[in-house]
Amino acid sequence: MMVDLLEQDFDFEWGELDNIEKQLNDSISNDIPISPKKSPAKSNQITPKNSPAKNDTFRTPSVSPANKRHILATPKSSSNSISTPNSSPRKTVQSTLIPQIIKSPSASPGKLGLDNKSIKINIESPKKKLNFDNENIISKSGSKRKMSPTKTPENKKIKISSVDSPDTQESGYTTDSSPLQSVKSNIPTGNIESKLWVEKYKPLTLKQIIGQTGEKSNVNKLANWLKSWYSNHGVGVNKKLTRPSPWAKDDNGAFFKAALLSGSPGVGKTTTAHLVCKELGFDIVEFNASDTRSKKQLQNNVSELLSSTSLSPFLGGKSVTKKHALLMDEVDGMAGNEDRGGVQELIILIKNAKCPVICMCNDRNHPKIRTLSNYCFDLRFHKPKLEQIKAAMMSICYKEKLKISPETLSSIIASTDNDIRLTLNHLSVVAAGKDNLNINKKYIKMGPWDVVRKVFSAEEHKSMNITDKCDLFFYDYNISPLFVQENYLAAVPHDVEGSKWKTFERYSLAADSIRIGDIVSAKIRSTNNWSLLPAQAIFSSYCPGEFLRGHVSKQINFPAWLGKFSKGNKMNRLLQELQIHTRIRLSASKEAINLDYLTTLRNKILKPLIDEGSDGVHKSLDFMNHYHLVKDDVESLNELSSWPGHKDLMSDIPAKVKSAFTRAYNKSAPTFNVTKKNKKAVDDVEGLVDEHEVDDNVSDEDEEDIANDALISIVKKKASKKAASPAPDKKIKNSGGSGRGKKKK
């Protein structure tokens, strides 16, 4: 192991040494408190390696690369011969490097003519030197510990410990930067630099909250509610307050003891609550998702706190005589085992509260929150408009001297879905990075509608390569192919000339490639071969887009395939039901019933009703009985056999006949209803009947029929008798088939 490492080291010795240099250079550049963009250039000027020309003027020992190499080479070769452990190559390298650093800043101000910022370098560079020295000392001491009696390996070993141990290096950096910060903190401008933008530009007064400036804004409502809280609910106050109607527009929330601030993340709920409390002089006790808020916990800590007027025991002696408010942040985060019963307890707390409670949540409609919201003054925070955020952001950008175009800013805000906090975070990233455009492109969320428009847009294609176009497919690879298929006929290709069929050829090609895409997708899903997904992207999205490059002329539609698919499933279910009911009578398969029997069956039932009116009811019912059809089947028969453009037979039946039919059906066909409702009872009956059958195979049908029905209910017996009466001959003829069948559906 060790030998391996050593050898490696030896091989890459030069590279490693260069690395050290680079790291040193980097560390210089990183620590310069000018904005990072500009720093590398400047640091380069200082560092010896990259600017040999300038170094000439500095007259540093290692001016040209060749020279440097020479210098570096000598200690190395000598280290092999010198036996003293302290003269490690590492050390010599440093000795060559460090003087440079020392020299360069001292030379820089005059010779390079640097501006103000370079003065900072001047100030800091001694620090850096120190740091590096420190670090080197550490690494040296580390290497000393590892030393072994043999000379040559020892030398290499030193290299390992000093060069290859990232820990010490890194720690070097961190210790490096922290004192720097302390230096920075002495400079007023440097202070802002160190802070996150989100923290830095947090509103300090109520007026600064974005989108909450109006007279009826949530901020004002909350402030008014809080102001009047003690006069409404305070100790000894016995005001009669009525619950406001949920539709009341200008409610001041006087009835409620708690307020519920809801809204999407980043709109400023927490900020608002804190600021309002601060401005009105309330002390805040906050519980958020990081605290356990189980029932017990709340009981122990909070209830005590809420029901008392002084907070001194809770806050450990620090006497608080002022008004206080309880902030329950992230209420919808009260979940899991730890917070069990938390919401219920919170409600109880609110009921008994002696101080205002402010709850905050994201999802106002969460079932847990819904119970809570009954006890709360409901304040919904809406997302501020893009312009509102934009104005604020522009001023921040100005303060930060970040040049950003209004369009880019708009797109960044839009990509965050008007989330102020996220926008600020993104902006700070943009400010830190160099190519801000690239970063924010990826943030933008696209819906399938936009994707389809892009797929067929010649305009967009100009700035996209094949990968970008395939990426469109991956926005949602489940729905994209459907969207493309639904809308490719609305696309108008631009670059087609000549006869009509040439244009149509494009559509045909697109349809073909979509078809192949489907085959690929079938393969993916049947064999779980997801590596084929890019192939599907080509066929389902890229190719149609290429064939029909142009623009989409119509509105983008949602894929009809999904709706049709579920409708098809429903039809299939109805058909299956039909087949099950008619199974005993019909030998046909589902398909045959669908293709052949449907219309005939429907006509047999509906035609008598249409032609003969109420007199036909009997006929239809008999037919239904014979084929074991139930009322629902008639509906499904009608639905299955109706085609657009064809007449709906059902509508031809007068309402009177329809109701007569329903009444007669309810009377005469209870057996079906029963089988539907309590299958179990019938199953028992079935068992009984089966035994009967084994015993006397050729027993007379009618008796058994009635006995069977009697088991179900007496009322039905009468009805079934009635129903059976019109067709006694049928029963005899069919030798038992009907009797059996009727018991089941």
Partner: protein, 355 residues
């Protein structure tokens, strides 16, 4: 009361109207008292089920006709429950395992095994075996068919399995080799005419020969459809007229309408309209091969002879691709688009030739 198609279904092998030789063979087979597993196959409406039931009656007597339905519950390995309906007499049980969709294997494994494993109580009175009738075997998944093959051999002593399928192309060879395959071809036009006439005679109606022929030509040699069409025609107009138009099923008319739309105009907008019509057909559960067949028939009728060959070729190509894919619509639409392209190209070129 019942429809003619059911009313005049022959219930014994002696009474079947056509393929009498085959019926005789079957009778002989059964009269020996035992027979191997059977596999009936043939197109829709050829009389497979009729022959199977007649065979069972020959075997067990009229008791087979006392049917009852039973619901059976199954549980998938993922603990999903589903229900299958069976039709059974004391002697046989009829199952359509493909009703269970992708879970058909469980039905085959559990139901058939349990039925097959139980012996008849009284083998002196009855036969020593039961019959399991499996319908739509060609719809079974390959796994279910694999599960079937061992069962068929293992429980030969206690049960016979009769399989019923439209085509044996989808039945795995292992099963085919274990069964005596009985092909039930569709009846000829003469057979159909003869049957239609006998039915009319029994109903006390007169049917002109010409009308019988028209019906038989319109029914795809599907006897069931022929009889239903006859009955529908009778409802529509009686006494029969030679020139009377036969009642064609609605879906067939609708496919005809679709074809007309395709031929009327070849633009993306029209294709969009056709798409919605095709969706209607798919939603109604019309099998895609039927859609392809009738659509092609209608389209080819209106094509130049030089185009016909190409059209048939692309139709077969797209039907094949449909079987490989998932979403039938995509393939149907690609077919229509291709047809529209060929058609409009041809029209334009031939028009160009004129001027």
């Amino acid at each position: 009361m019942s429809l003619w198609a059911d009313k005049y279904r022959p219930n014994s092998l002696q009474k079947v109207d056509y393929h009498q030789d085959q019926a005789q063979h079957l009778t002989n087979l059964v009269n020996q008292g035992d027979f191997p597993h059977l596999l009936f196959y043939g197109p829709n409406g050829a009389g497979k089920k009729t022959r199977i039931l007649a065979l069972l009656r020959q075997l067990y007597g009229p008791g087979v006709e006392r049917l009852r339905t039973e619901h059976m519950n199954f549980m998938t390995p993922s603990n999903k429950k589903f229900e299958i309906m069976t039709v059974a007499s004391n002697y046989h049980i009829e199952v359509n395992a493909s009703d269970a969709g992708m879970y058909d294997r469980i039905v085959v494994m559990e139901l058939i095994k349990t039925v097959a494993q139980t012996h008849q109580l009284d083998s002196t009175k009855q036969r020593h075996f039961k019959v399991i009738l499996l319908t739509e075997v060609d719809r079974l998944t390959k796994e279910a068919q694999q599960a079937l093959r061992r069962t068929m051999e293992k429980y030969m002593a206690t049960c016979r399995i009769i399989l019923c399928a439209n085509s044996i192309g989808q039945v795995i060879p292992a099963i085919r080799s274990r069964c005596l395959a009985v092909r039930v071809p569709a009846p000829t036009h003469e057979d159909i005419c003869k049957i239609l006439k006998t039915i009319c005679k029994k109903e006390g109606l007169t049917l002109p020969d010409e009308l019988a022929l028209i019906i038989s030509q319109n029914c795809e040699r599907n006897l069931r459809r022929a009889i239903l069409m006859l009955e529908a025609s009778k409802v529509k107009q009686y006494p029969f007229d030679v020139k009377q138009s036969v009642v064609v099923p609605d879906w067939q008319l609708y496919i005809g309408d679709t074809a007309k739309q395709i031929l009327s105009q070849q633009t993306p907008g029209k294709l969009l309209e056709v798409r919605s019509m095709l969706y209607e057909l798919i939603v109604h559960g019309i099998p895609t091969n039927v859609i392809f067949k009738f659509l092609l028939k209608e389209l080819v009728k209106n094509c130049d002879i030089s185009l016909k060959h190409d059209i048939v070729e692309i139709a077969s190509f797209y039907e094949h691709s449909l079987l490989k894919g998932n979403k039938t619509m995509f393939h149907l639409e690609a077919f229509v688009a291709k047809f529209m392209l060929l058609y409009s190209k041809f029209m334009e070129e031939s028009l160009h030739g004129i001027f």
